[in-house]
Symmetry: none
Subunit: 363 residues, 2 copies
């Protein structure tokens, strides 16, 4: 059996664990092509469903998968592959296989999961977008679930911030759920990755969503819940993050807002309250070496120096309106940095964009 | 010297500590009347200002104090009195004397301090009012500082909940600061107490406020900060509560609301997040008899029904602009309630005020 077919078979095997796969590979002397040989499978300690499938595989399904892999350009990443994301390997019930559309490398980059309500407030949606753009600029990949609401705003914000973003799907990657996110999914694929442990043609079954959530939190250094009602799926993601020893962050809101109740519950249970994007970076800085925040194709992590640079920029701005060019001359910061810092300061209500491309400080 | 005059003298003595007073009383063999005898004062270990005053007291000031005590009915409570509040006695720099208008017993009841911004949002003010009423029904005395904003709303809410409330003032009790709270002060006196460590005719000096705050937190099992900006005086009260080993609670809010930033800062530093009044009770491990939460002369806790009323109003509003009158007709809520609910919804970004006195829902 050729390597491509072996990988497609493994990825479609029900009930197989990463440990099972590791044992099969070891029994085959490290040769993946030989790991599904009949005598090996017969003697391996496997769940019944996995053994039954591997003994008599659904060849038509596998053929169809292979055809889709060809046309779509999707890759299969196995837990025994060296490129498999190291943080994901650590979790309980790590998936033995992932289908990936886009950049496999994106899965190993330092990631922050951002999740939340499918019915957020307008303010929550815009917070997700702004924070995600900020994290992207700080060099973090934003990982989420492609759902409507907070998920979509987080992906879109990360893209706008010039960063990578990973969407973990609860369906096969031959479809986009929800369908209206097809354009967003295409952008995510181009600048990050779409990932699923579910084989092609898997429909969005309800029980797949919590299962999928463990991959979102498992890929990530921490999980930030932006807005969530009580009993929402985002709280499952947060719980799984905590169980995997990852940081859990939550953004507070009005006590009268139902989609803040879940966040408040998390904070009561020990999640870190986040009211500025930089809170996440300073909390994660403990576990993220600075170099990791500085991947080659992103600007150097501004997060650490951020406060000083912002103060400097505000000082340079004074209280008379100025253009970006004159601020670049005054601060010696790159003009792209000045522009994005002004955007953040504008979002924070500290500067205002004025006619003629000038910016003014708000006292 | 008669007992009344001795107490008035002690209360007016500058720089005297509760420990100094305790030592003087012990040296006088437990006889308060003898504790200010010249030989005792001469040999006692006293701050210079205290010794100077006790050696040559301002008799005119003391006479004026005594006249005021007579006409106002105020009492002086010394730290050596058995009725002195036990929790207050525990703190560093416990006041040796308190002037009290109203019920001295109220000071020994289980208290919760509620403090916050003098410029709260309407939602914050109404939260303070509702929570204080709930605490009152739960049998807690609400202690605050009689300031405008959160303080006043907390006192008023406690009174409306049928409970007692204590106002700790930063002026002499012969005046009310701010003056517009004269009616509120009279109600507090009738159903609780006004307290000050400052002698009559003390003006509201700026430095008195942080000093006063230690008494608010010192009297209380815990301190709840409802809304507070960064660097606000309420954070001083919270810090003093923490230093005295008392619980610190804070109510979260929108990350875009400046008067929630102080609360968020407290939560980051370890304060308990409170989004329901009952959180405070369960944290303080106070058992509340159910009947107390449902006293005959108060309506059942509105907090529970609140969300429903807001939902009803939003449903009634639909997505076509409507006037307050038409909303009153649709919901059968009082027009004052509709108006204030709309205001809150507007602040939460859920409705917008439109020309012609109409309101529109923000999708």
């Amino acid at each position: 059996m050729d390597a491509r077919r072996v990988r497609a078979l493994i990825a479609r095997t029900p009930a197989l664990s990463a440990e099972n796969l590791q044992a099969l590979l070891a029994a085959a002397g490290g040769e993946l092509e030989g790991s599904l040989a009949a005598p090996l499978v017969r003697h391996a300690d496997l769940p019944n469903a996995a053994r039954a499938f591997l003994t008599a595989p659904d060849e038509i399904a596998v053929d169809t998968d292979l055809a889709w892999l060809d046309t779509s350009g999707a890759a299969i990443l196995l837990s025994t592959d060296p490129q498999y994301p190291p943080l994901l390997r650590e979790i309980a019930a790590a998936p033995p296989a992932l289908y990936v559309l886009g950049s496999v490398e994106a899965l190993a980059a330092p990631q922050l999961a951002m999740v939340g309500s499918r019915n957020p407030t307008p303010a929550g949606r815009s917070t997700a977008h702004e924070f995600a753009a900020w994290f992207a600029r700080a060099g973090l990949t934003v990982t989420s679930g492609l759902a409507t609401g907070i998920d979509a705003a987080s992906h879109a914000g990360a893209l706008e911030g010039g960063g990578a973003t990973v969407a973990v799907c609860a369906t096969g990657l031959d479809r986009v759920y929800p369908a209206e996110h097809a354009a967003l999914a295409a952008r995510i694929r181009a600048r990050g990755a779409l990932v699923s442990e579910f084989p092609p043609r898997t429909a969005p079954l309800r029980r797949h969503f919590p299962q999928r959530n463990r991959i979102i939190s498992g890929l990530s250094l921490g999980t930030l819940v932006v807005e969530a009602a009580r009993h929402s799926g985002s709280l499952i993601t947060a719980r799984l993050a905590g169980e995997a020893g990852r940081e859990v962050f939550a953004i507070p809101g009005s006590i009268h807002s139902p989609v803040s109740r879940g966040c408040h519950q998390l904070i009561k249970q020990g999640a870190k309250l986040v009211d500025e994007a930089s809170d996440v970076i300073s909390e994660l800085r403990i576990s993220v070496p600075k170099e990791q925040l500085r991947t080659p194709h992103t600007e150097p992590a501004r997060a650490v120096a951020l406060d000083n640079e912002y103060e400097m920029l505000l000082d340079a701005l004074g209280f008379a309106p100025a253009t970006i060019d004159s601020l670049v001359a005054r601060t010696h910061l790159p003009s792209a940095s000045v522009a994005s810092m002004l955007l953040i300061l504008e979002l924070e209500g500290r500067v205002a964009a004025l006619p003629g491309g000038r910016y003014g400080r708000i006292p």
